[in-house]
């Protein structure tokens, strides 16, 4: 980057101390530049977050650069984060000088040439067109829908995600151009730590990691414990399978998170902060490292931030692959170089946390909400939402819904709207069966409760939890027993092993689920097997309740939730597995039997060759026979049979 740019960056930072209205004209012009308002040359934005890259955006990026060079076109290429419309990745936006920014979907490497040829020749192609971004200062295209009106975006309220996919995550200038760090500057100038805690309390912000504890109150606890050293930790471990909200925020808008952390550290009086981020997020780690070093260069981290007398250093600690480290005391132990097992509470981290000092831990999304509140005030935040759940929630929607991806909605929005309006309805036009909210700690919401409002307390009434935002939509072809088994398996593998109810209890719950999804031929031949099976099912609920009652930490205490929840709403499915030994959804492979139809089989031996466990016996031209005990239910025989001679029950 040329020197001048860094100077402007520093100027922008210096200006944070002044009201925007008092900024010099030159600076205000620069700002417009970074707001992508007055372009000198075209900009091509490419979504290169992890999911974009997974869909091929890396190749798209290369091809775009090649194209520009080949055709000698002077245009800027900006890599942006994830806007959330993951199902349509790779996403490419093009903005010509003076005109609005236009978004295109599924632009893989091979589509680049065609697209750019069109656009640079004045044509906006209809194919792969998502829409144009509204901007009052730029000339819109006729007959092109606004992205803001797109069904996926229309019902969203994007506050936390407002910059994701729009700005260059590495650019501090672009973040400031979107009013970034205004909140921090104002607070440092006008508000004491105690007042900041009250402000956040007033806003009604609750922890977005899943527990929903009032953030301002949590900060106050840490503030009230005096100590020469305090710590502020951001939980970026995001271990729920199917959740990637935090990843997107860090990849797409890292400065927002950091601003939130600086504000939080100021509020509690911490001079050292740590981002505990899972190692499986290498791109997010890179973005975060870069953002931190930029802030250090510009004095927004380090000593005497914005001349306030407040000092803060932020370090990154990488997780090493343990879901349980998302639990506060386990995370603290992990940072201290120990096994990530939780510690008894009390004492709570606010009193004795990292290195026995007062510590506060917040989730990424919680912190990403803070700059907005600091900038706009608590009223702005609580102007939307429900009585007890204010603000917005980011969800990572996956599964059998058409529009998988990231979305942000007002609290109080109905689940139905998320699934059908934003999500576009069930894929392949199948029927909705259940929505799993909250991952392995959560529960499922069945069809009859699709109307439910997204609210911390309301969700609990139907046995679900808000969770961190993972939302998996399931259609009629999902087996709820299998879903419960999947989450139980996850909990068992991730259990730290310290306490008996979680380590042994969830293990036996999983054993029970395995027992009822196992075929007769795989069972222990002793006559007591079926009695054991019945017994374990009878005691399943009792076991689940004891685990909830007595487990050491949240992982164990909420571990039985998926089982209890599916038992509550899909009891009949369980009963079919237990008593009739069938799986109505056709998912539990072991309850499916494969048989050769002797009338149709010609003995071509194709299936026997393909069978990985040699379960198919039979000579050439003689009808074959499948040995049930050897059959692993992979289904390959069905795929290769040209005579439709294999029955699946």
């Amino acid at each position: 980057m040329p020197n001048t740019s860094t100077n402007i960056r520093s100027e922008l930072v210096q200006s944070l101390n002044k009201n925007p209205g008092d900024w010099s004209q030159d600076l205000q012009d620069e700002l417009k530049n970074y707001q992508h308002k007055e372009l000198e040359k075209p900009i091509i934005y490419i979504g290169t977050g992890t999911c974009g890259l997974g869909a091929g955006a890396g190749d798209t990026l290369k091809e775009v650069k090649d194209y520009l060079e080949r055709n000698d076109i002077d245009a800027e290429v900006k890599e942006v984060g994830c806007i959330g419309f993951c199902v349509e990745e790779p996403l490419v936006d093009i903005q010509l000088p003076g005109r609005t920014r236009v978004g295109f979907s599924e632009i893989t490497e091979d589509k680049v040439e065609g697209l750019l040829d069109s656009v640079f020749n004045g044509q906006i192609p209809a194919e792969h067109l998502v829409g144009q971004f509204k901007d009052q200062d730029l000339e819109p295209y006729e007959d092109i829908d606004y992205i803001e009106d797109h069904p996926f975006f229309r019902n969203q309220t994007r506050r936390v995600l407002e910059n994701c996919g729009r700005v260059e995550p590495t650019s501090l200038e672009e973040y400031i151009a979107q009013d970034g760090f205004q909140g921090l500057a104002k607070i440092l100038r006008t508000t004491t730590p105690e007042e900041l805690c009250d402000l956040i309390k007033d806003s009604g912000l609750r922890g977005r990691g899943g527990a929903g504890f009032p953030t301002g109150l949590k900060w106050k606890f840490a503030l009230d414990n005096a100590a020469e050293q305090k710590y502020f930790i951001c939980n970026a471990d995001e271990g729920d399978p199917g959740a990637f909200m935090d990843r997107a925020v860090i990849e797409g808008d890292p400065y927002r998170l950091l601003e939130g952390m600086i504000l939080g550290s100021y509020a509690i009086g911490a001079s050292k902060a740590i981002v505990y981020i899972r190692a499986e997020y290498p791109l997010a780690i890179t973005r975060l490292n870069h953002a931190i070093s930029v802030l250090k260069e510009e004095g927004l981290l380090g000593d005497n931030i914005l001349n306030s007398g407040f000092n803060l250093e932020i370090k990154i600690k990488k997780g090493a692959g343990a879901f349980v480290c998302g639990e506060e005391t386990a995370m603290i132990n992990s940072i201290q170089g120990k096994r990530g097992m939780p510690s008894p509470r009390p004492p709570y981290p606010a009193e004795k946390g990292l290195f026995n000092k007062p510590t506060n831990i917040n989730n990424v999304e919680t912190l990403a909400n803070v700059p907005g509140i600091a900038r706009n005030g608590p009223e702005w935040f609580k102007s939307i939402g429900t009585e007890d759940s204010k603000g917005t929630k980011v969800f990572a929607v996956s599964g059998d819904v058409k529009n998988t991806g990231l979305l942000e909605v007002e609290m109080g929005v109905r689940l139905k709207e998320i699934v059908y309006n934003i999500g576009g309805g069930i894929a392949d036009d199948n029927e909705f069966k259940a929505a799993q909210i909250g991952g392995p700690s959560g529960g499922c919401v069945p069809k009859q409760h699709l109307d439910i409002e997204i609210d911390y307390e309301t969700l609990q009434e139907v046995g679900a939890v808000m969770g961190s935002g993972g939302l998996v939509i399931m259609d009629e072809n999902t087996c709820m027993v299998d879903v419960a088994k999947f989450f139980m398996d996850f909990i068992q593998r991730e259990s730290c092993g310290k306490c008996i109810p979680c380590r042994e209890g969830t293990r036996r719950m999983l054993d029970t689920l395995k027992a009822i999804t196992r075929s007769r031929s795989q069972e222990d031949k002793s006559k007591h097997e079926s009695l054991k099976r019945f017994k374990s099912v009878v005691y399943l609920k009792r076991l689940a309740n004891v685990i909830q009652d007595s487990a050491h930490c949240g992982l164990g205490q909420t571990g039985p939730n998926p089982v209890l929840s599916t038992l509550r709403w899909f009891r009949d499915e369980y009963e079919k597995h237990i008593y009739e030994r069938t799986c109505p959804a056709g998912v539990c492979k072991n309850l499916i039997t494969y048989n050769v139809d002797e009338d149709k089989c010609v003995g071509c031996t194709l299936c026997a060759q393909k069978c990985p466990s040699d379960a198919i016996k039979g000579k050439q031209q003689v009808p074959h026979y499948i040995v049930d005990e050897e059959c692993v239910r992979c289904g390959q025989c069905v795929e290769v049979c040209r005579f439709d001679a294999i029955n699946v029950k």
Binding site: G54, P241, T404, G470
Partner: protein, 156 residues
Amino acid sequence: MDSIDSILEKYPNAGRDSLIPILQEVQEEENYLSKDNVKRIGKYLGLPTSKIYGVATFYNQFRFEALGNYHIQICRGTACHVKGSEQVLEEFKRELDIEPGETSRNGDFSLEIVSCIGACGLAPVITVNGEVHSKVQPGDVKDIIKNYREEVKENA
């Protein structure tokens, strides 16, 4: 002074809270944690080896066996599971005769379960030495392995 020394040098006056970052760096450098290296780290940090081993075995990330020439990662996130990654994993286990976390006897292949690669739209997903294979079915496993086995022969 070898690579381990240069890693340790980066942590002067290190306390126990540097243990995991050091282990992460050593593993990145050497691909796994050998007994000798763990002993050296223990000496450097003044930590008993049993504690270091206890910490390292707790986390998924750390290996105590060298990776195979072809390291296969199978994603078992929710989306991949729903699309059948469990069967894919079973196929690999059967074909290679190793469990996740292990390396085959001849050192050609090693297997690892990962939680979510983040390419859920392409489920089921596996990577081999970082190269992403998407929409993998159990029936594809034999061929995938065959191809890499041939590469091994060619490179030999």
